[in-house]
Symmetry: C2
Subunit: 423 residues, 2 copies
């Protein structure tokens, strides 16, 4: 399939971020074939997209999600964390079947694609059904098999291996599988060590929660004598690719470890605020050339999965909290939400608009009163844009949304299926 | 004009917030005439609106704005406050003509109406042109004549009286004029005293900035020996209606004064974060039955005027900053952003959906993946909704937007006029 996007402005990450005006972008299969000032004569597209008054960006990557939690959206809002978890979320989660997981995931993916998300990093239980949903939707996905407990039993290993063999690297590598031990306080040391071994054996990434709350930090110090980051480090976790959600409660040594060992920090500003976890010191990780990405967390603790709104919130809160309006600049936030996602998938030629790069792209309709006048495109996207400004979403060279119409998800059918499940 | 909204769910503020399902709402002229379970036989509407799958709310009030600043949107982002003001904003502001003020205001009003704003509280210079824009757009507005200096000269008084006589209480009271001495650090004591006298004489409100930054707080203590709030209190300001933007740096006595004297606190979370001003202790004002409302500030320091996104940010940040997930609940935030706006306009029968109340209403399209399933309507609107979910906006019984089409503003003509001004 060859697609030609005509007369479109593009954002390109060079030494600085550059906006190139009115170019032609050719896509062949999963790859950006060319970027040129005029249409190439020898490129015969199967499909053409008009890019006038639109801006093409590398797609947004939502780096920490729990897809099926759309079915728990706005359940138990404004309660204390423990009340929320033990009296609202956990009892409801116990009732979720494979069908809930699949359709809840599709619902979240519909919302995500509508906000310009081209890739996600998920973790949940019954994850085979999450994989199927991600596969069906056309999104790029790293799906963590969420596990916890004292002993990594043969049953758990079997589940992981089954999901791995069925979905890992499926569809041109679009779906990847990761192992997701939930957290240091829900998994024993032995469990974590065995999980790491299995990840090494299968050559997959680890996705986990690290240092989300002060309670977790204190628990780690009390039980193991070290911070959660140092605990994981001492277990050897950071010798392989670890994607660490939250990273809120970090001391200076933790920040050094995360930055130096290229742990992928999954920053979830809304969730950290809503659940009163605190403010992650991402500006310090950025300053030390660490890898920071942006996630919404599950939409029960947000309560949406709008990556553009999340980017806006990430751009604001660190300035206010640290009393420095020059912290976490728009250009940094935009890269966090787009380019840095390539580390999750381990794909080098991704997250930029260049020849030979993955055609994971988002086109934003700039013809909106809130984006006008456009004195500074990057600032405009980070501080002013809305999720609903996203017009077109392309993943691996396939169109998932055009003119705001979803191509891979039938919303009416989806509501019908979910109504049956929740009534 | 009689309008009938059919088969719509409504939010009603009673002792608790209630959602009433599938009702009929009749509007006659500027007033809600009835709310009933079925269509009244003797009400013959001129116009009918289908409310199926939609939610009707009291309109959102953006309580602190500088309308013309859309023309400075994203100018000087990510610079220090003083650099931003003195090297970016002030030089540009000096070049603004009456035409910039008018068309810049209309542009902001277009964005505001698209996000469900039915009322605003503004302050800017050349305010007669802001008044005209607000009048032309159909929005409800309190427009502050922004002033500052050492001496309240006859020229300034004349300008205020001219705007007052031309616009105050125009169109059924839809437009109100206020006096807006900029801040305690840009106005002398004598200037502030004379401004207050004039406000009393004209029987209008005062709109000003109070305790926005730590610098202002320290300046006040150093120069006058008291906090900004106590300084204004000692000048007698809080004997009349004062609308105080920001209220970030408050001590416990300040919080008591603001709460007890019913100063209208205009909370601007995004601006306070972006400019690194800090976190207003609104939860303490709410706890003392003070009046808190929500504003976006000018869109140069936000950088949008999306009141629904602002409400979401207000709902999140105080939980995170004060490490308490039960602070500033969704129900409180929704009232802050809607009902509490009535204090700005001094209209008692406003900000609720009841018979005899002002027909300032917003209808939200709930048929969106990010609002489904709807387990908790209030939480859904505050935490999950987007500005673009607003379908219809009615002010004083007149339709300003329907099915997302603006009725009073021609965007293409507006862009044409602004392009001439900024090119």
């Amino acid at each position: 399939m060859k697609i030609l996007i005509k007369d479109v402005d593009i954002i390109q990450y060079n030494e600085e971020i550059e906006v190139k005006k009115s170019v032609f972008v050719g896509i062949e299969n999963d790859t950006i074939k060319f970027i040129s000032e005029k249409k190439l004569e020898n490129f015969n597209p199967d499909y053409e997209i008009d890019g006038k008054n639109k801006l093409l960006l590398p797609g947004f990557i939502n780096s920490h999600t729990h897809l099926p939690m759309s079915l728990l959206r706005n359940v138990g809002s404004d309660t204390s964390l423990m009340d929320w978890l033990y009296n609202h979320i956990f009892p409801k989660e116990k009732t979720l079947t494979k069908e809930h997981i699949y359709y809840g995931s599709i619902l979240t993916l519909a919302e995500m694609i509508k906000c310009g998300t081209t890739g996600i990093n998920d973790m949940y239980f019954l994850s085979e059904n999450v994989c199927k949903a991600a596969y069906d939707s056309g999104i790029r996905a790293s799906i963590g098999v969420s596990i916890n407990g004292d002993i990594l039993s043969e049953n758990i290993k079997q589940e992981i291996k089954q999901v791995y063999s069925k979905y890992h690297n499926l569809d041109n590598g679009r779906i990847q599988v990761a192992i997701a031990p939930h957290a240091m306080y829900t998994c024993s040391k032995e469990f974590l060590i065995d999980s790491l071994e299995l990840a090494k054996q299968l050559n997959v990434s680890i996705h986990t929660h690290i240092a989300e709350t002060k309670t977790e930090y204190d628990y780690s110090i009390e039980k193991y004598g070290v911070s959660p980051v140092k605990y994981f480090d001492e277990l050897g976790y950071f010798d392989i690719k670890v994607m660490a959600a939250h990273c809120v409660h970090l001391d200076d040594e933790d920040i050094d470890i995360i930055s130096n060992k290229k742990v992928i920090c999954l920053h979830n500003p809304s969730s950290n605020l809503k659940l009163a976890s605190g403010f992650s010191p991402i500006h310090k990780i950025i300053a030390k050339q660490g890898i920071v990405t942006i996630g919404t967390d599950g939409c029960a603790s947000n309560n949406n999965v709008n990556i553009i709104e999340e980017m806006h919130i990430a751009s604001l809160i660190h300035k206010g909290y640290n009393m420095d309006p020059m912290l976490v600049k728009a250009s940094e936030v935009l890269k966090m939400a787009t380019q840095n996602g390539k580390h999750i998938f381990g794909i080098d030629n991704m997250g930029n608009i260049r020849e030979g790069y993955k055609a994971d792209l988002v086109m934003i309709d700039m013809n909106k009163p809130h984006l006008y006048p456009n004195f500074d495109t990057v600032s405009n996207i980070v501080y002013s844009a809305q999720g609903s400004d996203v017009d077109t979403v392309i993943v691996d060279g396939k169109i998932l949304m055009e003119k705001r119409q979803l191509k891979t998800i039938d919303l009416e059918k989806l509501y019908f299926e979910i109504n049956k499940l929740i009534s």
